[in-house]
Structures are given as structure tokens and as C-alpha cells.
Amino acid sequence: MSELLLGNQAVARGLYEAGVRVVSSYPGTPSTEITEYAVGYKELYSEWAPNEKVALETSIGASLGGARAFSAMKHVGLNVAADPLYTVSYTGVNGGLVIAVADDPGMHSSQNEQDSRNHAKASKVPMLEPADSQECLEYTKLAYALSEEFDTPVLLRLTTRVSHSRSLCNVQERQEKELIPYKKDPQKYVMMPAMARPRHVVVEERTRRLTEYAETSPLNRVEYHSKKIGVITSGISYQYAREALGENASYLKLGMVYPLPVRLIEEFAAQVDTLYVVEELDDFIETHCKKYGIPVIGKELFSFCGELSQSIIREKLLNQKNDFAQLDVPVPGRPPVMCAGCPHRGIFYALKKNKAFVSGDIGCYTLGAGAPLAAIDSCVCMGASIPGAHGYSKAVGKENGKAAVAVIGDSTFMHSGVTGLINVAYNGGNTVTIILDNSITGMTGHQQNPTTGLTLSGDPTSKVDLEALAKAVGIGRVRVVDPYYMSECVEAIKEEMAAEEPSVIISRRPCALLKNVVHKPALSINREACTGCKACFQIGCPAISLYDKKASIDANQCVGCGQCVSLCRFGAIKGEE
């Protein structure tokens, strides 16, 4: 039966059908839903790990134990997991091991647009790339067969448009896989130098055999139509090219993007007049072709940045442009903002008041960098906020500049923040770390983490005590504030910035969108008292806007949090009594 499945949902179905037993992941758009759907299958054990390195290391252990195992992550998450990845490539597997990595060309929800195919090549791990939901399901199952046949982990590369598109999918029954008995084998599984050196030779031989496999694998498919134009492509780029060019071109669709075939590409090249490589981000396939002297046209036409589309390909290859209408009015941008009632708003307002250098991190609160709060000075990667603030204050010193404050969410603090905090305490830093504890992983859509007291399955579990943890790593000054009380937050931050030792402020208030959070009735504006001074707009709440020269509160959005009340000198913002 055909079902309309999300790409990520189809990967999860593939895990189920392949008899996978253990799933360990960290959420990251666009990969998150794979694990959220996987937990729906009771035959699989699924968990959220604190970060991608831990997730992959857990899956490696499960594979050693003889089970088919899986981890999902986004592209920047694979950087975190790169350390175990490059070595599990050497050890190989016992039970099949597959790692899904979801790239984000166009940066819909990411801080860079890295091309993870480079990780496949660099770690010498084969990579498959599906182009729609049906292939997501099939390639996931095939990846396990390859993993066990070639004794290697396998990377499954997704991109936003594959992960987050629904297309028709045929589902089948689960095939149970018995545990493969574990045999002690330190030569294979203990990677110290003497044992790792021969394993590198094994890996090179494996890559040679995989290249042979790529020459004839059904994953790599030729479609001959008109031979005037030939296109080598993979993944979603195939779909764009196929729609743009139809039967005016022939296609070599590569389902396996590492290692790449040589003879197959040569044969295809010999059949067509002009050969193009159509690929998003890096010139990965193009470089391979040129290495073997196969003349192709690629990045001369296409950008290294952003997503492709059928129109870009149509324009570049056929010189055809779509016709469309446009209005001659300026359309203001609509950037994403922190939600009405978001507790992080109070802290950012307080930071702005205290004029701190704010070292930011990855999560909803990164939106605090936007106007009008504009309260963040830097944002690099998960966990970078605390070391960033530490480095800044070591370089600049309080006497020469603004004091450095790090802001980091509870989930990100668990992911890779705590090591940065240990470094601050250990090396005599003097920074303020604000843990924005909204009791959930907010940005990716409410996943549990070690501070929430619930597992991925929703079962009660141990809960990290952030106050005790901060003290345990050596921070003497630890305090908790409620961000809804803004003047107290301003004072707390002021005191900690002035202190002569490092401190942690835990700003605790659950995400306003959580279902168990009870809201107060919406606030309203007393139009007689309102002078239209716009002071209340400075908090950047999307529920407050200007109507007929006075402030107005949208009752559908307002959750009655009251953070705006203290901003009005005229007492014009009132709640329902």
C-alpha cells in the first residue's frame, strides 16, 4: 500500500523494516523526525543522547553487541561525532551500523551549509544519497546490507528537501535480525597504533572493493533519453534536473556518492555530447570526474552556495526563464522571532540594560540577536558560548571592555556546554554564564533532554540538578532567577558582572509553548493612558503592535506573561482583574 511519508519518516520505517534494534541520536533540523518516528516502533530501543558523539558511540557499542544500530544527526552534528566516525571506519562493525546525516543547503535552520560528502571521503566511509521518500526507505535497508557485507559503517546523506518532503512510499513488514554473536577481537576493535596500522590497510582495500561495487550497483542508474545533454547527479539535484530537462537529457543518477564509480562515468560520458554535473554545494562529483580526465561542466554554471532548483537548471542549461508578475511595493522582511511569552526575552532585556558582551549559542535564544533586543554578540556552534566568553574576558579583561556573559540553553548546556564551564572554573575565568533553562529542547520542537526528567519515550528518569552540577565543577556563585521578573534579572546580572569570580545564573521558566504551561489571560492596553511612546516595543514581543498611533495587544497571541508591563511608565498595560 502507498502512503504519503515524510522523508525522515521513511528512514524510520526503513530502520523498522531492516530489523534495527538500537537508535541513539541528538535532535537537529532537518534530521530530528527520524528519531521521533523511530520511537513509535516498540521493537526498537530509541533514545536521545546528550550529543552526537555520545549518540554514535552508543550505536557503535550496540553494533559490537551484534545488533543493527543507528544514529541520526544534522551536518554540524556530524562534526561533533567525527571523532568516533573516523575510527569506527577502521574497526568496522559487527551488527550493521548506519548514520544518517541531514545537510541543510540554503541554511533554512543552520549556521553553515557544509557538504557532508566530504566527511564520507575523509573518513573513508561509504555514503548513500536517496532522492525521495521511497528511496529513503529502500536505501536505509540497503545500507544495512552493505554495512554487514563490507564490514563498514554506512552514511546515509539527506538534505532538507528530502528530509522534509512527503512523497509516496510502499511499506513492508519488519525482518527480524538475530543478534550476531560477539567475538573478542582486539586486533579489530582496539584501535591503538599497532592494531590501527593494519586496519588502515584493510580500509583502503575495502574502499577498492566498494568502488568495484559502485560500478555495477543498482544504486547508480543510467537513464538514456536524448544524448545531446548528459547529466551526472544525485539526491534531490536529480529531481530538479529531471523536472527541468525531462527527456531532453540523459541521466546518470548516483545513489552512492562515495566511493564513486570510474568506468560507469566514463561509459556514460562516451555516450553523450555535452556532460554536466548537477550537484548542490561542493564540486564533489565534478572533482572526481576531472581527476580521471573526464571533461564535465559544473561549477562554471552553478554556485557553491545554497540550494538548486529546476528553474536554475533550466536557465543555465536551456537558457529558458519563467515569466511572472510582481507588485511594485516594498515588502518588509519577516524574520523569525522569539514567541510571545518567551522567557528568554526578559534575560536579553536585562543583558541589554547591563551592556554586556554576550557570547551566544545554538537554540531559540539565538533569535535574541535580532532587532529590537539585538542582545547577542557572537554565535558559532553548539557549546561555544561559555568558552567564547572565557576567551573574550581573558583577552580583553573587565577593566578594558564590557564584561563577558555567556547565554546557553539547558539542552545545549548538556550537549557541550558543561566542558566549557569546567574550563572557566579550572582556569580562573571571570565570566557570567546564564543557563536559559526553559525545561525542554525548544528550537527543534520540544525534545526531552537530561535536565527535563523524561526520556524520549516520555518515561520518568533522573534529572540533572543544574545548581549542584555548576557547584560541582567549581563555580562558587550560583543563583536562580525567574526571567519574568525583569528588574530582578537586571540586578542579578549587574551583581554577577561586578563579582571578582565566575558565576552561573540559572534563568528558569518553562517554554511558553509547552502544553503543560498554564497561561494567564491576555493583557490589554488602556488607550487613554497610552501615549504611543513605543517603549513597550523594545522588548520585541510579536503580540504588541501599533494600531491607530497607540500600542495594541493581540489577544490571540498574548499569554499574559507581563514582561512588557514594567516597560510602560504610564501604567497603560493592564491585565484582567
Partner: protein, 193 residues
């Protein structure tokens, strides 16, 4: 360009329910036996930002994207977003629009203005415009949040599939608790003049 593919663009502001709307439409056309691709919006863009989802169906659909000049119909949950994505519409295409205005942050803080007379401007651009006060209709159905289903009701009137197919799809995508209210919202949208 495959002529046998129908492309429908759903645009709005993050939080308005474009994702559910695109799933609903996806289920309806899937039920009709078409090949279908629905490209959804997840993650950062959901936080009150401008969002766009694509639904394409026909004999065979390759790309999940709709590019400039390719959409047959646009359903806009907010007026300014209709104007933002107008270039995606084919010339002479149809727009089903909720005439609600939601100020984006640059407008709230006074660094930009919400343009005036957009309905008139859109009409002058030569599109078939079906405007409605979706918020009022949703309130009539019992919940302002059902504005997405109201608009899908209005879209359903423009497409050749019977109401029952839509109601069946609603049952699939809406949680049982909200089903009756959403069915009312759909019918009110469908029957809106």
C-alpha cells in the same frame, strides 16, 4: 516543465498552521491516485517567520519545489505574505487569501511600514483573487486557530474533489479532540461566498 503537474503554494506566518494545511491537501490528492510531493517547513522558520510550503501532484512529480512563475494556485494565510510570494504564481493564477494583517517585527519596531491597499494592488496584477476574513470565519467555527482549515475549505471549492474526500483527509490529519471544530471550520470556509 511538465504540464500535467498541478502546483499549489501555501504561504503564511510561522504558527498559522501551513504545515497541517499542506498535509491535508497532500492526503486529498493522494486519495485521488496522483503522484504527490509535499515540501514542508520545519525548524527555525516556524518561529513567527515567513513560511512557504509546496504541494505538487500529477501523473509523475519529480521536484518538490515550486519556483517563480510555476504555481497554479496560492493559498495565503496573511496578506503581506501573498504579496511576498506573488512572483511564484503563474500569470493569471488564483490566490485564495486571508485578508488578516500580522505586523512583522521590522514594522512593529518602526523600521519598515506595512504597505497599504494590497488587495487592490493584487487585483490590478491580473490574478484571480478570492479574499476572505478567515479569522472571523474561524471564530464562528469556534476557534481562531482553525483559520488554516477555513482557507483550505475555500481552496477546496476551487478544486474538483468532493467535500467528502476532504473530510476523510481531515480525519487523518487532525487530532480527534479538534476534529468536529475543524470540520465546521472547513464547511464554513467551503460555503463562504
Amino acid at each position: 516543465m511538465s504540464k500535467d503537474v498541478t502546483s499549489i503554494l501555501i504561504v503564511g506566518v510561522g504558527g498559522q498552521g501551513t504545515l497541517l494545511a499542506s498535509k491535508l491537501l497532500g492526503e486529498v490528492v493522494c486519495d485521488q491516485g496522483y503522484d504527490v510531493k509535499v515540501s514542508e517547513v520545519h525548524g527555525m522558520s516556524q518561529r513567527g517567520g515567513s513560511v512557504v510550503t509546496y504541494v505538487k501532484y500529477g501523473e509523475k512529480v519529480y521536484s518538490p519545489l515550486i519556483d517563480a512563475g510555476e504555481a497554479d494556485v496560492m493559498v495565503a494565510f496573511e496578506l503581506l505574505e501573498a504579496v511576498r510570494y506573488l512572483p511564484f504564481l503563474k500569470k493569471g493564477g488564483t490566490i485564495v487569501v486571508n485578508d488578516q494583517k500580522i505586523d512583522p517585527m521590522p514594522v512593529i519596531i518602526g523600521s519598515a511600514q506595512y504597505p497599504q491597499n494590497l488587495l487592490e494592488e493584487l487585483t490590478a496584477a491580473g490574478v484571480k483573487l478570492l479574499a476572505m476574513d478567515g479569522l472571523a470565519v474561524a471564530a464562528e467555527a469556534g476557534n481562531a486557530k482553525a483559520v488554516n482549515v477555513v482557507l483550505m475549505g475555500a481552496l477546496a471549492k476551487q478544486l474538483p474533489y468532493p467535500k467528502e474526500v476532504w473530510e476523510k483527509a481531515l480525519t487523518k490529519v487532525v487530532p480527534p479532540k479538534f476534529l468536529e471544530m475543524n470540520k465546521r471550520a472547513f464547511v464554513l470556509g467551503y460555503e463562504h461566498p
